[in-house]
Symmetry: none
DNA sequence: TGACAATGATACAATTAGTACAATTATGAC
DNA sequence: GTCATAATTGTACTAATTGTATCATTGTCA
Protein backbone atom coordinates (compact mmCIF):
# COMPACT_ATOMS: atom_id res chain seq x y z
CA UNK A 1 0.00 0.00 0.00
CA UNK A 2 1.09 3.57 -0.50
CA UNK A 3 0.48 6.80 1.32
CA UNK A 4 -0.83 5.46 4.58
CA UNK A 5 -1.86 7.97 7.16
CA UNK A 6 0.95 7.57 9.73
CA UNK A 7 -0.42 8.61 13.06
CA UNK A 8 2.20 9.95 15.42
CA UNK A 9 1.75 11.31 18.90
CA UNK A 10 4.34 13.87 19.85
CA UNK A 11 4.64 14.87 23.47
CA UNK A 12 6.40 18.20 23.52
CA UNK A 13 7.14 18.03 27.22
CA UNK A 14 8.22 14.43 27.54
CA UNK A 15 11.87 15.34 27.65
CA UNK A 16 12.57 13.30 24.57
CA UNK A 17 13.59 15.34 21.54
CA UNK A 18 10.91 15.53 18.90
CA UNK A 19 13.10 13.83 16.32
CA UNK A 20 13.67 10.96 18.73
CA UNK A 21 9.97 10.51 19.25
CA UNK A 22 9.42 10.39 15.51
CA UNK A 23 12.20 7.82 15.11
CA UNK A 24 10.88 5.64 17.91
CA UNK A 25 7.32 5.63 16.74
CA UNK A 26 8.08 4.94 13.10
CA UNK A 27 10.42 2.19 14.21
CA UNK A 28 7.74 0.68 16.38
CA UNK A 29 5.14 0.80 13.65
CA UNK A 30 7.49 -0.83 11.19
CA UNK A 31 8.48 -3.51 13.65
CA UNK A 32 4.88 -4.22 14.51
CA UNK A 33 3.84 -4.41 10.90
CA UNK A 34 1.62 -1.34 10.85
CA UNK A 35 3.97 0.12 8.29
CA UNK A 36 5.00 -2.25 5.52
CA UNK A 37 7.75 -2.21 2.91
CA UNK A 38 7.19 0.30 0.11
CA UNK A 39 4.71 2.28 2.16
CA UNK A 40 5.35 5.93 1.50
CA UNK A 41 5.79 8.15 4.49
CA UNK A 42 4.53 11.73 4.44
CA UNK A 43 6.95 14.26 3.00
CA UNK A 44 9.13 16.03 5.51
CA UNK A 45 7.12 19.19 5.00
CA UNK A 46 3.72 17.53 5.24
CA UNK A 47 4.55 15.69 8.43
CA UNK A 48 6.17 18.79 9.86
CA UNK A 49 3.03 20.80 9.25
CA UNK A 50 0.86 18.14 10.80
CA UNK A 51 3.01 17.91 13.90
CA UNK A 52 3.54 21.67 13.98
CA UNK A 53 7.32 21.41 13.97
CA UNK A 54 10.02 22.58 11.61
CA UNK A 55 10.51 20.32 8.62
CA UNK A 56 14.20 19.99 9.45
CA UNK A 57 13.22 18.22 12.62
CA UNK A 58 11.33 15.67 10.58
CA UNK A 59 14.21 15.48 8.11
CA UNK A 60 16.55 14.74 10.96
CA UNK A 61 14.35 11.88 12.11
CA UNK A 62 14.11 10.56 8.57
CA UNK A 63 17.88 10.73 8.19
CA UNK A 64 18.37 8.65 11.32
CA UNK A 65 15.82 6.12 10.13
CA UNK A 66 17.50 6.08 6.74
CA UNK A 67 20.88 5.39 8.28
CA UNK A 68 19.29 2.58 10.26
CA UNK A 69 18.07 1.16 6.94
CA UNK A 70 14.49 1.31 8.11
CA UNK A 71 13.38 3.80 5.51
CA UNK A 72 14.79 4.96 2.23
CA UNK A 73 14.74 8.68 1.53
CA UNK A 74 15.13 9.73 -2.06
CA UNK A 75 15.65 13.32 -2.94
CA UNK A 76 12.91 14.60 -5.18
CA UNK A 77 10.85 11.43 -4.78
CA UNK A 78 9.89 10.80 -1.26
CA UNK A 79 10.42 8.50 1.66
CA UNK A 80 9.57 4.84 1.74
CA UNK A 81 9.73 1.94 4.11
CA UNK A 82 12.53 -0.39 3.04
CA UNK A 83 12.54 -4.13 3.05
CA UNK A 84 11.78 -5.64 6.39
CA UNK A 85 15.07 -6.21 8.15
CA UNK A 86 15.88 -9.68 9.40
CA UNK A 87 13.60 -10.87 12.20
CA UNK A 88 16.38 -10.56 14.75
CA UNK A 89 16.76 -6.87 14.02
CA UNK A 90 13.04 -6.31 13.95
CA UNK A 91 12.63 -8.02 17.26
CA UNK A 92 15.42 -5.99 18.78
CA UNK A 93 13.92 -2.74 17.55
CA UNK A 94 10.51 -3.74 18.78
CA UNK A 95 11.87 -4.58 22.14
CA UNK A 96 13.88 -1.39 22.45
CA UNK A 97 10.92 0.71 21.52
CA UNK A 98 8.63 -0.90 24.06
CA UNK A 99 11.39 -0.77 26.61
CA UNK A 100 11.81 2.98 26.21
CA UNK A 101 8.08 3.58 26.39
CA UNK A 102 7.70 1.40 29.44
CA UNK A 103 10.65 2.86 31.24
CA UNK A 104 9.19 6.33 30.90
CA UNK A 105 5.89 5.14 32.27
CA UNK A 106 7.30 3.17 35.18
CA UNK A 107 9.73 5.83 36.30
CA UNK A 108 7.03 8.46 36.15
CA UNK A 109 4.62 6.34 38.16
CA UNK A 110 7.26 5.55 40.75
CA UNK A 111 8.21 9.19 40.90
CA UNK A 112 4.64 10.07 41.69
CA UNK A 113 4.86 7.77 44.66
CA UNK A 114 2.99 4.72 43.52
CA UNK A 115 4.19 1.36 44.69
CA UNK A 116 5.27 -1.34 42.30
CA UNK A 117 2.32 -3.40 43.41
CA UNK A 118 -0.10 -0.65 42.54
CA UNK A 119 1.50 -0.18 39.16
CA UNK A 120 1.46 -3.86 38.34
CA UNK A 121 -2.17 -4.11 39.38
CA UNK A 122 -3.26 -1.08 37.38
CA UNK A 123 -1.53 -2.26 34.22
CA UNK A 124 -3.12 -5.64 34.63
CA UNK A 125 -6.56 -4.12 35.13
CA UNK A 126 -6.27 -1.88 32.11
CA UNK A 127 -5.10 -4.72 29.92
CA UNK A 128 -8.04 -6.78 31.04
CA UNK A 129 -10.54 -4.05 30.36
CA UNK A 130 -9.03 -3.75 26.91
CA UNK A 131 -9.72 -7.41 26.48
CA UNK A 132 -13.40 -7.02 27.11
CA UNK A 133 -14.19 -3.83 25.27
CA UNK A 134 -11.75 -4.15 22.44
CA UNK A 135 -10.03 -6.59 20.21
CA UNK A 136 -9.31 -10.06 21.53
CA UNK A 137 -5.71 -10.23 20.47
CA UNK A 138 -2.71 -11.61 22.33
CA UNK B 1 -1.67 26.66 28.95
CA UNK B 2 1.78 27.66 27.85
CA UNK B 3 3.91 30.73 28.33
CA UNK B 4 2.14 32.20 31.28
CA UNK B 5 3.51 35.43 32.67
CA UNK B 6 5.00 34.25 35.98
CA UNK B 7 5.11 37.25 38.27
CA UNK B 8 7.80 37.06 40.88
CA UNK B 9 8.73 39.61 43.49
CA UNK B 10 12.38 39.55 44.42
CA UNK B 11 13.48 41.47 47.49
CA UNK B 12 17.14 42.20 47.14
CA UNK B 13 17.41 43.31 50.76
CA UNK B 14 15.63 40.43 52.40
CA UNK B 15 18.78 38.49 53.12
CA UNK B 16 17.31 35.47 51.38
CA UNK B 17 19.33 34.41 48.35
CA UNK B 18 17.70 35.31 45.08
CA UNK B 19 17.64 31.74 43.92
CA UNK B 20 15.88 30.74 47.13
CA UNK B 21 13.25 33.36 46.58
CA UNK B 22 12.67 32.10 43.06
CA UNK B 23 12.41 28.53 44.29
CA UNK B 24 10.00 29.45 47.05
CA UNK B 25 7.73 31.53 44.90
CA UNK B 26 7.53 29.06 42.05
CA UNK B 27 6.86 26.32 44.57
CA UNK B 28 4.12 28.41 46.15
CA UNK B 29 2.50 29.18 42.83
CA UNK B 30 2.50 25.52 41.86
CA UNK B 31 1.03 24.53 45.21
CA UNK B 32 -1.67 27.17 44.94
CA UNK B 33 -2.57 26.20 41.42
CA UNK B 34 -1.45 29.40 39.76
CA UNK B 35 1.07 27.34 37.83
CA UNK B 36 -0.26 24.13 36.37
CA UNK B 37 1.39 21.08 34.86
CA UNK B 38 2.80 21.69 31.40
CA UNK B 39 2.92 25.44 31.88
CA UNK B 40 6.12 26.73 30.38
CA UNK B 41 8.25 28.90 32.59
CA UNK B 42 10.23 31.80 31.15
CA UNK B 43 13.68 30.90 29.84
CA UNK B 44 16.51 31.35 32.28
CA UNK B 45 17.65 34.39 30.32
CA UNK B 46 14.23 35.98 30.01
CA UNK B 47 13.47 35.64 33.68
CA UNK B 48 16.95 36.81 34.57
CA UNK B 49 16.52 39.94 32.52
CA UNK B 50 13.13 40.63 34.04
CA UNK B 51 14.45 40.23 37.56
CA UNK B 52 17.69 42.02 36.69
CA UNK B 53 19.85 39.16 37.88
CA UNK B 54 22.34 36.88 36.21
CA UNK B 55 20.79 34.04 34.30
CA UNK B 56 22.93 31.58 36.24
CA UNK B 57 21.03 32.54 39.33
CA UNK B 58 17.79 31.63 37.63
CA UNK B 59 19.40 28.47 36.30
CA UNK B 60 20.38 27.56 39.82
CA UNK B 61 16.83 28.00 41.03
CA UNK B 62 15.55 25.97 38.11
CA UNK B 63 18.03 23.21 38.85
CA UNK B 64 16.82 22.97 42.42
CA UNK B 65 13.21 22.89 41.31
CA UNK B 66 14.12 20.28 38.75
CA UNK B 67 15.78 18.09 41.34
CA UNK B 68 12.68 18.48 43.49
CA UNK B 69 10.70 17.22 40.48
CA UNK B 70 8.58 20.33 40.44
CA UNK B 71 9.71 21.43 37.02
CA UNK B 72 11.38 19.77 34.10
CA UNK B 73 14.20 21.61 32.36
CA UNK B 74 15.18 20.50 28.90
CA UNK B 75 18.26 21.81 27.19
CA UNK B 76 17.45 23.50 23.93
CA UNK B 77 13.71 23.44 24.58
CA UNK B 78 12.65 25.12 27.77
CA UNK B 79 11.34 24.61 31.27
CA UNK B 80 7.96 23.20 32.19
CA UNK B 81 5.91 22.47 35.26
CA UNK B 82 5.71 18.74 35.86
CA UNK B 83 2.85 16.73 37.23
CA UNK B 84 1.50 17.88 40.52
CA UNK B 85 3.26 15.99 43.28
CA UNK B 86 0.85 13.50 44.82
CA UNK B 87 1.53 13.96 48.53
CA UNK B 88 -1.71 14.76 50.34
CA UNK B 89 -4.31 13.80 47.84
CA UNK B 90 -7.06 11.38 48.70
CA UNK B 91 -6.84 7.75 47.84
CA UNK B 92 -9.40 8.26 45.13
CA UNK B 93 -7.44 11.02 43.45
CA UNK B 94 -4.29 8.97 43.74
CA UNK B 95 -5.95 6.10 42.00
CA UNK B 96 -7.35 8.28 39.26
CA UNK B 97 -3.94 9.76 38.67
CA UNK B 98 -2.32 6.37 38.24
CA UNK B 99 -5.23 5.25 36.14
CA UNK B 100 -4.82 8.14 33.73
CA UNK B 101 -1.09 7.66 33.53
CA UNK B 102 -1.45 3.96 32.93
CA UNK B 103 -4.15 4.38 30.35
CA UNK B 104 -1.97 6.72 28.34
CA UNK B 105 0.84 4.21 28.47
CA UNK B 106 -1.21 1.17 27.63
CA UNK B 107 -3.10 2.76 24.77
CA UNK B 108 0.10 4.13 23.32
CA UNK B 109 1.81 0.76 23.53
CA UNK B 110 -1.15 -1.00 21.94
CA UNK B 111 -1.33 1.66 19.26
CA UNK B 112 2.29 0.99 18.44
CA UNK B 113 1.39 -2.58 17.85
CA UNK B 114 2.57 -4.36 20.96
CA UNK B 115 0.56 -7.22 22.33
CA UNK B 116 -0.88 -7.27 25.80
CA UNK B 117 1.44 -10.08 26.74
CA UNK B 118 4.48 -8.13 25.66
CA UNK B 119 3.32 -5.11 27.62
CA UNK B 120 2.65 -7.07 30.75
CA UNK B 121 6.02 -8.76 30.50
CA UNK B 122 7.91 -5.55 29.92
CA UNK B 123 6.27 -3.77 32.83
CA UNK B 124 7.06 -6.71 35.02
CA UNK B 125 10.67 -6.77 33.89
CA UNK B 126 11.15 -3.08 34.47
CA UNK B 127 9.63 -3.22 37.92
CA UNK B 128 11.97 -6.06 38.78
CA UNK B 129 15.03 -4.27 37.50
CA UNK B 130 14.03 -1.31 39.60
CA UNK B 131 14.20 -3.61 42.58
CA UNK B 132 17.76 -4.59 41.90
CA UNK B 133 19.40 -1.40 40.73
CA UNK B 134 17.27 1.14 42.55
CA UNK B 135 15.48 1.78 45.74
CA UNK B 136 14.11 -1.17 47.66
CA UNK B 137 10.59 0.05 48.06
CA UNK B 138 7.34 -1.95 48.03
C1' DT C 1 41.72 37.58 57.71
C1' DG C 2 39.91 33.44 55.99
C1' DA C 3 36.19 30.43 54.75
C1' DC C 4 32.13 29.88 52.57
C1' DA C 5 27.89 31.08 50.20
C1' DA C 6 25.88 33.80 46.50
C1' DT C 7 26.28 35.79 42.25
C1' DG C 8 28.37 36.82 37.80
C1' DA C 9 31.15 35.88 33.39
C1' DT C 10 32.28 32.91 29.86
C1' DA C 11 32.32 29.08 27.02
C1' DC C 12 29.74 25.08 25.67
C1' DA C 13 26.15 21.57 24.20
C1' DA C 14 21.52 20.22 22.54
C1' DT C 15 17.53 21.22 20.00
C1' DT C 16 14.97 23.49 16.66
C1' DA C 17 14.36 26.92 12.95
C1' DG C 18 15.79 29.54 8.57
C1' DT C 19 17.59 29.69 3.99
C1' DA C 20 19.39 28.23 -0.14
C1' DC C 21 20.07 24.39 -3.14
C1' DA C 22 19.93 19.84 -5.76
C1' DA C 23 17.32 15.87 -7.65
C1' DT C 24 13.16 14.20 -9.41
C1' DT C 25 8.67 14.49 -11.34
C1' DA C 26 4.77 16.82 -13.45
C1' DT C 27 3.04 20.14 -16.81
C1' DG C 28 2.53 22.52 -21.04
C1' DA C 29 3.97 24.65 -25.41
C1' DC C 30 5.40 23.31 -29.71
C1' DG D 1 6.91 13.01 -28.61
C1' DT D 2 10.33 16.44 -26.87
C1' DC D 3 12.03 19.95 -24.45
C1' DA D 4 11.70 23.90 -21.26
C1' DT D 5 9.90 25.12 -16.98
C1' DA D 6 7.60 24.85 -12.70
C1' DA D 7 6.51 22.20 -8.67
C1' DT D 8 7.72 18.90 -5.29
C1' DT D 9 10.89 16.57 -2.44
C1' DG D 10 14.96 15.77 0.33
C1' DT D 11 19.85 17.93 1.63
C1' DA D 12 23.28 20.94 3.54
C1' DC D 13 24.69 24.51 6.05
C1' DT D 14 23.92 28.11 9.23
C1' DA D 15 21.62 30.71 12.81
C1' DA D 16 18.86 31.16 16.89
C1' DT D 17 17.21 29.57 21.24
C1' DT D 18 17.66 27.04 25.21
C1' DG D 19 19.87 24.95 29.34
C1' DT D 20 24.75 23.32 31.39
C1' DA D 21 29.34 23.49 33.30
C1' DT D 22 33.15 25.71 35.17
C1' DC D 23 35.54 29.09 37.24
C1' DA D 24 36.03 34.01 38.94
C1' DT D 25 34.32 37.64 41.83
C1' DT D 26 31.94 39.54 45.66
C1' DG D 27 30.27 39.87 50.14
C1' DT D 28 29.31 38.35 54.78
C1' DC D 29 30.51 36.66 59.12
C1' DA D 30 33.07 34.14 62.64
Amino acid sequence: MTNKKLTLQIDFRSGLPIYTQIVNQVQAQVASGILKPDDQLPTVRALAEELRVNFNTVARAYRILDEARIISTQQGRGTFITEIPPPKVTERLRRESLEALTQRYVSEALRQGFSKGEIRQMVSDQLKSWNESGKSEE
